[in-house]
């Protein structure tokens, strides 16, 4: 009797439904509910061979390379740009010296919006969020002493992307680099500007035509260059869930392919140069599932919707950046830890290149020291943690495979809704993705204020403000004065007649539906400024007016 009593008090198994848990619901940062346990039952519909497969094989769920990172590590590409072209050139050289393997340019807001430093609208903004570039002269300084045939450069520029591409190509040419050999990436994703980041100039349809111009031009003349990086990053930062980021980004990708096909381009030639860009947010497994689902979806879309066959066309390649929106002003050193975990998710998700945010970015642009620590974070993941030793180490996990499948199905539901509206351009005109994102942003804010979501140091474990002090980078108005002076010198040196003639040629190309790139390159060579070229295109295309949502 005594023994049975002990057995009944100590060893009676507690059924899962009865045992107490810390919370009634466990949710991801996207407010998606997660089960206690995942078992083979959760992946009954996931086929080992056709859904998961092998790395380097269709549908690429486990990665696009058979060797994973054993063949080649991801490119460590830190996004940098601030103040004058001289200052940013110095930062570029510093990062390259410290072992960074690619460059990524951040432009300031006037440049992103197509205004010169001396425009009245640029007041207070020159060199603040990135480097100021108003003409070829600035671009020459920016890449002075950097061999563009050897270093790949990514440019975060959208509405005026074709102009900055033209400047980049002319600088490369002046350096003696061969356009056939240079590589790099232009963000050039205008759809996500209307959806999320809101840095637009022209109405959607002519803006899409400019994007297609770059596809056509690069396919023919700069074959190793990626003329677009279809970006979910900004969609996520604006408040989208992981699923919305995935769905809207891939649907944007479909839209670009459709526009390219309509313009008569061969998918097997231009689609291999389309790259993607995703966010790496806090919820570790949700992010990994998102990246794996993205590869599988894209391969299937390209095969089934567009009839693509070649491997390069089916493979989704992507860049990852850790989530700026997750960084906190409070206790900023905590951001170092957030960035490390987010970066690890990007790596376990199989990213081709990675930017790790600096811990001071919720306060200002990064200092040299903070930028270096961000780079070191990647180097530690790559060379100390051991995670790069085997391919897709999480493949086959009940949880990760079930989540990957759920992401794919959720994205397909969004594709159906957007297709029913007539496509992504039409969906944007109706305000659909914008509204979905706004709703998610608001739901998240409410969850945060209700304490359902935790941000360490912000709504839990708070400390006195004094504990948050770190050195920050200050950029003052002297940058604008310096840039205006440079611009005046450039204007004084150039041939005004040639500038006027080349600007007319741009207007003519825009009116006749010809490719605008050749005329843009000519204008750039004559030192026509960014503002002048964008203004010439505005004369023909007009400007975008945001629908009220």
């Amino acid at each position: 009797m005594a023994t049975t009593e002990i057995a009944s008090t100590q060893f009676t198994p507690v059924s899962p439904s009865q045992s107490k848990e810390r919370k009634s619901h466990f949710c991801t940062v996207s407010l998606d509910e997660i089960n206690r346990l995942y078992t083979p039952d959760d992946i009954r519909d996931v086929e080992q061979v056709t859904d998961i497969g092998q790395p380097g094989e269709f549908p690429y769920t486990r990665g696009i390379h058979a060797t994973g990172y054993r063949g080649k590590l991801w490119t460590m590409r830190q996004f940098a740009g601030f103040s004058t072209p001289e200052e940013t050139n110095r930062r570029f050289k510093y990062l390259l010296k410290e072992g960074q393997t690619g460059l990524s340019v951040a432009y300031d807001l006037p440049t992103l919006m197509g205004y010169d430093a001396d425009s009245s609208l640029s007041e207070g903004e020159v060199g603040k969020c990135g480097v100021a570039v108003s003409s070829l002269a600035d671009m020459e300084t920016l890449f002075d002493g950097i061999d563009l045939e050897k270093v790949t450069v990514s440019q975060t520029i959208n509405a005026p992307a074709s102009v900055l591409l033209a400047m980049y190509l002319v600088v490369a040419e002046k350096q003696g680099a061969d356009w056939q050999k240079i590589s790099g990436t232009l963000q050039n994703d205008i759809l996500k500007e209307y959806i999320a980041q809101k840095e637009w100039i022209y109405p959607i349809r002519p803006a899409m035509k400019l994007v297609v111009d770059t596809f056509e031009f690069c396919t023919a003349q700069v074959p190793k260059y990626n003329p677009i990086s279809v970006s979910g990053y900004h969609i996520r930062e604006a408040g989208a869930t992981a699923l919305q980021e995935l769905a809207f980004t891939l649907r944007d990708g479909i839209e670009y392919v459709e526009w390219g096909v309509s313009a008569g381009l061969d998918i097997e030639k231009f689609v291999p140069r389309i790259s993607f860009f995703f966010n790496a947010h806090n919820d570790f497994f949700e992010e990994i599932a998102k990246y794996r689902a993205a590869r599988r979806l894209w391969a299937r879309i390209m095969r089934d919707r567009f009839g693509a066959r070649s491997e390069r066309t089916l493979q989704l390649r992507f860049h990852t950046q850790t989530a700026g929106v997750s960084l906190t002003v409070q206790q900023p050193l905590n951001n170092v830890v957030r960035v490390a975990i987010q970066a690890l998710a990007g790596v376990l998700g199989g990213t081709q290149s990675l930017h790790t945010d600096s811990y001071d970015e919720a306060l200002a642009l990064p200092t040299d020291r903070a930028a270096l620590l961000a780079l070191r974070t990647q180097q530690i993941i790559a060379e100390e943690s051991g995670v790069a030793n085997t391919v897709d180490p999480l493949g086959g996990s009940y949880f990760v495979e079930a989540f990957t499948e759920k992401m794919e199905q959720g994205a397909r539901d969004y594709f159906d809704r957007i297709d029913a509206m007539g496509g992504m351009v039409e969906a944007i005109e109706k305000g659909f993705p914008q509204r979905e994102i706004q709703d998610s942003a608001y739901q998240y804010q409410k969850a945060l204020e209700a304490g359902e979501q935790t941000i360490v140091g912000v709504n839990k474990y708070q400390m006195e403000a004094a504990s948050t002090e770190i050195p920050i980078l200050v950029i003052d108005e002297s940058v604008r004065h310096h840039q205006i002076e440079r611009l005046e010198q450039t204007r004084a040196r150039r041939d005004e007649g040639a500038v006027a003639r080349t600007l007319d040629n741009i207007r003519r190309a825009a009116q006749t539906q010809a490719n605008t790139l050749p005329a843009t390159i000519e204008a750039v060579r004559e030192y026509a400024t960014l503002g002048e070229i964008c203004s010439a295109l505005r004369d023909v295309y007009g400007i975008y007016e945001e629908p009220a949502i």
Binding site: S122, K128, Q197, E199, W200, A441, Y442, I472, E546
Partner: protein
């Protein structure tokens, strides 16, 4: 009684070239849910356009959202334009990425409060409610 009948009117304003409007839109919605009347200017408004909208909409408070670092240029101008058109009591508050060392000067120039990232929308609503000048 008459005072409590009139809802507090707030203009949420987004000056400068910055397009990051997540914060502005979340705040606009939260203040609306808190019972205020909110007018959102839309993107890329000049200080002049913001002051004109504030006057036309007869608002009690102007909430400015800036994430680009242009606050030192834009905020004092908005405040002085409001004061020049006789809106001496209109509360001006700022939200966004603002370094600590800029805060005292902004307050001196007439910005009533600066809300940094991580602020609860309820705290902002409370601040507005406690600091707008009651109307006759």
């Amino acid at each position: 009684m008459a005072q409590s009948e009139r809802k507090i009117r707030v203009l949420v304003a987004k000056p400068g070239l910055d397009g990051h409007d997540r914060g502005a839109k979340v705040i606009a919605r939260a203040l609306r849910d808190a019972g205020m009347e909110v007018i959102y200017t839309g993107l890329r408004q000049t200080p002049e356009m913001i002051a004109a909208a504030a006057l036309q909409e007869d608002v009690d408070a102007v909430g400015v959202s800036i994430l680009s670092g242009a606050h030192n240029t834009l905020c004092p101008r908005i405040v002085s334009l409001l004061r020049n058109q006789g809106m001496n009591d209109t509360l001006v508050i700022l939200g966004g990425i603002v370094p600590q060392e800029d805060i005292p000067k902004l307050k001196e120039q007439g910005v009533a409060e600066i809300f940094l990232p991580g602020t609860s929308t309820q705290d902002i609503a409370k601040f507005i409610r406690e600091n707008v000048k009651p109307r006759e």
